[in-house]
Assembly symmetry: C2
Homo-oligomer: 192 residues x 2
DNA sequence: ACTACGACATATCATTGTGATATATCATAG
DNA sequence: CTATGATATATCACAATGATATGTCGTAGT
């Protein structure tokens, strides 16, 4: 029955609590701001917006706003209330599904070099993320240095930083483990 | 068109590459072994098993095996080949959707105490995970100390350890940030 | 001998989300 | 004046979840 606990609707409601926006705007907001830890696809945004409108949690603003085919939604007081109520609930434990770990678990079936490549690529990706986080933090503090919500934004950024650093560290350890595995398997082949 | 790239089918194929198993067995395997980083639900396991059987990547073994309504599947050589091919492909970057971060991003709308509670609970959960990982590592090295794939299993465990440690560290930093926020907001209320 | 319970086993379904693609408009650079 | 790229909404097949239904079997307790 409970069809109102989807977190997506609250991500959208949250975006609208910052400023009125169209589905397209929300997608771009999701891609930039909260995009580091939250994704929304058009496939959910537009249906959810209509649903929220039916429930009077958001209001489509009048008329074609630009001449464009643009529907801008604004959050209603009821919507803000719903958002606050959701914020009170304990967040769900995030589902954790890692394909690289799944492959590593079964990696005995292929050459160790394969895993080395995968781990190296992952390491690079996380390092790129780290530089992105640093840039975002810089711009954020410059442009919104006194915004009252800045501390919260920095907390989410800090999460990403810790996470990526941990993954890089893990990559290093894993690469050295894999190197050892390669050595011993070469020894075996050599002694045959 | 490409309907053969679902990772779930390879998780199942991987499980069957260890030993023949029923859908129920696979679910239990997923819940224990790879369960720390991979979940499978009955809703995918049974349909996928049938699909894999149609594609001759697995073979249902003959007859009711126990008197029970049990269908045990074994991987075929073609299935092992498909598994190895999948292992060669670069793993997808794991989708990262964190509800606690989403709530934190919008947490300015509610009292800081709310966020404190959420973060504390998360910290406890990660600490519980860490003790679990330690136990699993212990049992694994005791019971399969010389298993050739043990190093790979330990790599996946090590990932979980790094990740949870990073989250605990983040929780500590976040809790102290939140404490500061509470102080300053009390000051404001006091000076009014 | 009976029965309640928990483990075993498969199946199904509504809901949620993704990612790709289709369609169309508008601004602007060449 | 036309090609391109940003803006904007919509749709769909596919994937996955998680809850629930249905039933069997072994066995512990009475």
């Amino acid at each position: 029955m409970r069809s109102n606990d989807s977190s997506s609707r609250f991500a959208i409601l949250g975006a609208l609590s910052l400023r009125p926006a169209s589905g397209y705007d929300i997608k771009r907001f999701a891609a930039s701001s909260i995009g580091h830890f939250w994704n929304e696809s058009y496939g959910s945004i537009y249906p959810i917006l209509k649903k929220l409108a039916r429930e009077k949690l958001v209001q489509p603003q009048k008329g074609p706003q630009n001449g464009r085919d643009r529907v801008v939604y604004a959050i209603t007081p009821r919507g803000e209330q719903a958002l606050r109520e959701w914020l009170l609930q304990a967040p769900r434990t995030e589902p954790f599904r890692s394909e690289i770990l799944l492959k590593l678990f079964f990696a005995g079936r292929v050459a160790a070099e394969i895993s080395v490549t995968h781990v190296q690529e992952r390491k690079l990706a996380e390092q790129r993320r780290l530089t992105t986080y640093a840039q975002v933090e810089n711009e954020l503090t410059k442009q919104h240095g006194s915004h009252p919500e800045l501390p919260y934004w920095l907390m989410t950024l800090n999460y990403g930083r810790h996470r990526s650093e941990a993954v890089v560290e893990w990559c290093n350890e894993t690469l050295s483990s894999l190197a050892k595995l390669q050595k011993t398997s070469k020894q075996k082949r050599g002694s045959k």
